[in-house]
Point group: C2
Chain length 161, copies 2
Amino acid sequence: MADLNNLISPFFLNDKEVRKVIELIFFSYRDFTSGPDKILEKLSFGRAHHRVIYFVGKKNNITIKELLSVLQITKQSLSRVLNQLVKEKFIIVSTGVDKRTKKLSLTEKGKNLESELSTIQIKKIRGVINKFNEDNINGFKKILYEMTEDNSKKIFQQIND
Amino acid sequence: MADLNNLISPFFLNDKEVRKVIELIFFSYRDFTSGPDKILEKLSFGRAHHRVIYFVGKKNNITIKELLSVLQITKQSLSRVLNQLVKEKFIIVSTGVDKRTKKLSLTEKGKNLESELSTIQIKKIRGVINKFNEDNINGFKKILYEMTEDNSKKIFQQIND
DNA sequence: ATAATTAAGTCAATATGGCTGACCTAAATA
DNA sequence: TATTTAGGTCAGCCATATTGACTTAATTAT
């Protein structure tokens, strides 16, 4: 009776097992950001600053509009965080060919911080996937990808050419 | 030269590939919580309420202290959220055998909300893992588990007996 | 050439979810 | 009896997000 699902679907997780996955997503996300958060705190920065620095570092000369579409926050929310980063010279702003637009890039100082923060997360991921095989790692990436909504998939493709 | 790593380690992700994983973690987490968030918003609740409801549902008669150790927030932060949930009869409080402690459980109303919220996430996970094989799914769970810190591992084990 | 749209910025108010510090009560334990 | 533990509370603060209204300057469409 309980094994009926295995006759239909090749592999089935019951609610209890799926709930464990929910919990692991919660715990792992929290722990994944806690390292960078400690460094950001010393600079009186938060999660929001990391996200801005990350995506500006990812796509040099990104515009405000593009950044907003990635972060999915309002321009008022972005404004405060971005202005702080510009004022403290982590990010430099220039005018685009279309003079209505602005292009954002990391300064050397910004690149150093970006690197410091990302290195923690890169090392954590490498340390973990070291213990797994190619198939598991590709599976992990694909499952994460499938967990995202269509709009996120589109943005993910955009920022990765 | 670039393939040198493959001679040493069985599988290696370069920085660019690891950064994709960082992005997928960000996008997938955001999208994973967006469904429940819409329902919570109608009740003037937020992420914090969901977490409390989830873990009270998970472990019936959980104490304040236990809940705090899972959530890793201060009792002042928990207080506001929990009091709202009690006032609006999603959670019921009773006194423990040790009369200093309190035991929290979901009311029927609370169970209904918990179920509504969790069902969204359970369905999302099932919909995704349906497309993968047993090995990939087990790999996914294990990678998430390894992404957590020791303390989270301990708590995860505790709440799952 | 003018009108409409777009990119960006700003002001103000509001909500949520965290935090610290100080202090309190009641119950259990040493 | 003294100390520790579980829980609560008051006050103030900060970060991150929201909505709405309005502005400026530049580009594009009519």
